[in-house]
Amino acid sequence: MSRLRNTRSRIAAGGRGLARFMAVTGCLWATFFAHGVVAECGTVDPLPGFESSYARGWGIDQRNTRYQPRSTIDSGNAAKLTLKWAYGLASTTPRSYPLVTEDTIFLGDGGRGLVALERETGCERWVYEHEGPISSTILQGWIGKRRILIFNDRNDGMFAIDAVDGEFIWHATVEDEPAPWYSGSPLLLGDTVILPVSSKEVGYAVNPIYGCCTTSGGMAAFDIKTGAKLWYIPTIEAIAQPTERHWLFVQEYGPSGAPVWAAPSYDAKRGLIFFGTGQNYSHPTTETSDSIFAVVAKTGEVRWVRQFTANDAYTAACNLEALNHPNCPDPTGPDVDFGAATMLVKSKAGRELVIAGQKSADAHAMDPETGEVVWTQKLGRGGIIGGVHWGMAANESLGLVYVPISDKKIVGFSSPGEPTPGLYALDIETGERRWKYSRGSRCPDLECVFGFSAAIIASNDIVVAGSMDGILEVIAAESGKRLWSHDSWRDYRSVNNVVTSGGAFDAHGAMIADDLLLVSSGYSYVGQQRGGNAFLVFQIGVDDEQ
């Protein structure tokens, strides 16, 4: 049964009391305190267009370069970016990456569902109701002649719905693991959907009577037609065995962990996908944690694995350092996952390299054929939310890869060394540093700490990066000079008339399409950052408040 509702039917149905209250409150708030252009959302055609798409997945292309070739935004006009409209999300921790077509923006709105917004106005075409946290990019694909949308519910797996009428088609989960977490965006390769698998045990371990840990991260492939599993590979092949006990009764297990947090990148020439893993959750540690995997996309056969940090065992229990938590592995590792997506890029000289950014603040380049390390650059101090946290970008025509460094300190957790947050441009071929962009904090509070945790995006001769202190910036790709910025610590008048405010930039980061720059503002998932619920669309040359 379809759970899709268009705007008119929602109004006709009367809506929910709370929604009405919020809408009225939002209107009053917006009228008195906020500024901006608000569209009058009358009758909206519920049918989205699909002739043109601006991304083939989380990485814009399947190699995860995060380079948008279909854009008119460049260093010459970036200063003319102005707010076109703002949409108020239901979540204060937005964690979905939009799919943009010629007239529609599809976006997951945590706890509410998948919304299809008219690109020009931000008005809702329809809402596919879904209670769980939609946490991925929105993919589009085909089943025969039927166009579909695919997305992750972080807790509940992957869903496919009809892109036109919202009819539910299938729901896929990974039954091989008892506690899968679907944080990484899926990747569509022909009729196969590749799905990264993490593990919730990293959080379960906070419970001191939990016997940490038995599960592994992994990568799975599903048939796009049915959602049936084609293959699954765990990142730890060994079955966890009992190890020690704590508190007399609680049995511990290992090895475990090595979760996969991010979308894989695809090497069409070799038929390989590349992805990184996180740390182990318990001892004994494995040779596959904090590693890069190369896997045959069709079969799941592992071609090579390159480990960068050995003996890294860590769980969320370690964040409660003062409690001497029994589920914090001893010895405790530095927690330096590969949380960011790997990318396959080509240098100006034509050399292909797999580049991976690590929470240790290292960027590594590898030979895609063998996994041999070509260069490594240490760019910061690193920490439990990076170093490199969500994702990098590349501009192959300039021969540069851009590495955002967070280096954020978390209260109660030791972070030895000096933080050096900022955006770094490295030569793809050599790893040589070309420039660094950085700036100071806007206030002494922790939520003001400057640093780039969110993934970034590149286009033409610009790079777009949003920082944890709520400032979105366009930076010149060749020089590292700031061209434009927007402070999102403010209220917005939203097209859907809900109270809307910005916050920290984090997670999937910004999207670019033609003359539009789209981004979610607000992210309170990691402590000490300002939440917000604004989905912002900027456009070149539109006059408004700013």
């Binding site: 008892p178 919730k200 379960y204 009577i209 939990y210 016997g211 038995t214």
Partner: protein, 177 residues
């Protein structure tokens, strides 16, 4: 039976008694959870609903193990036993403000838990199936908005007869013994 001589329990004694119960019951529940392995591995979390049901049931078991007998025989939880107060039917207390000031009624009383009480405790079924249902609310005080419920429950103790909401619902009153 002695009802007119019973004195209302002081608020401080009740507070301390509640704190003692709020420590002892979760401690035993934690021990039971640890021994029974109901939330010890990822498979348990795969069915969170069932796991939480087990957690709740084991917490009830812990409550009954610790307090069942003394509630039945003396209208006391362990915390109330320690603090020398007990739960009796509201009808058994003929409130006499004049006697509340008499020192002779404030004398220390060392209760013996396994000796029947020298007063009539509130019926066990009321203590378990009505009054005890409010006990878990104490632990919701950390949840926004829901925290209003335990606050409301406890706030009524500042009334003249020092009856919390759970006393009013169960028809009980807490007295010195």
């Amino acid at each position: 039976m002695m009802s007119s001589e019973l004195l209302l329990a002081g608020r401080f004694r009740r507070l301390v008694a509640t704190l003692v119960d709020a420590v002892l019951v979760p401690a035993l529940a934690l021990l039971l959870l640890t021994i029974t392995d109901v939330m010890e591995d990822a498979d348990d979390y795969a069915n969170v609903g069932l796991m939480m049901l087990w957690v709740f049931l084991l917490a009830v078991v812990a409550y009954v193990i610790l307090n069942g007998y003394t509630l039945w025989r003396r209208g006391q939880t362990l915390g109330k036993w320690v603090m020398g107060i007990a739960i009796v039917p509201a009808s058994s207390l003929l409130y006499d403000s004049a006697k509340n000031d008499g020192d002779e009624h404030q004398r220390a009383y060392v209760p013996a838990p396994f000796v029947p009480a020298p007063f009539v405790p509130a019926p066990l079924w009321k203590l378990i199936f009505i009054r005890a249902l409010f006990f878990p609310l104490l632990f919701m005080a950390v949840v926004p908005w829901v925290a209003l419920l335990p606050v409301l429950d406890q706030a009524l103790i500042f009334g003249k007869r020092r009856r919390c909401l759970h006393d009013l619902v169960a028809g009980t009153v807490v007295v010195r013994v």
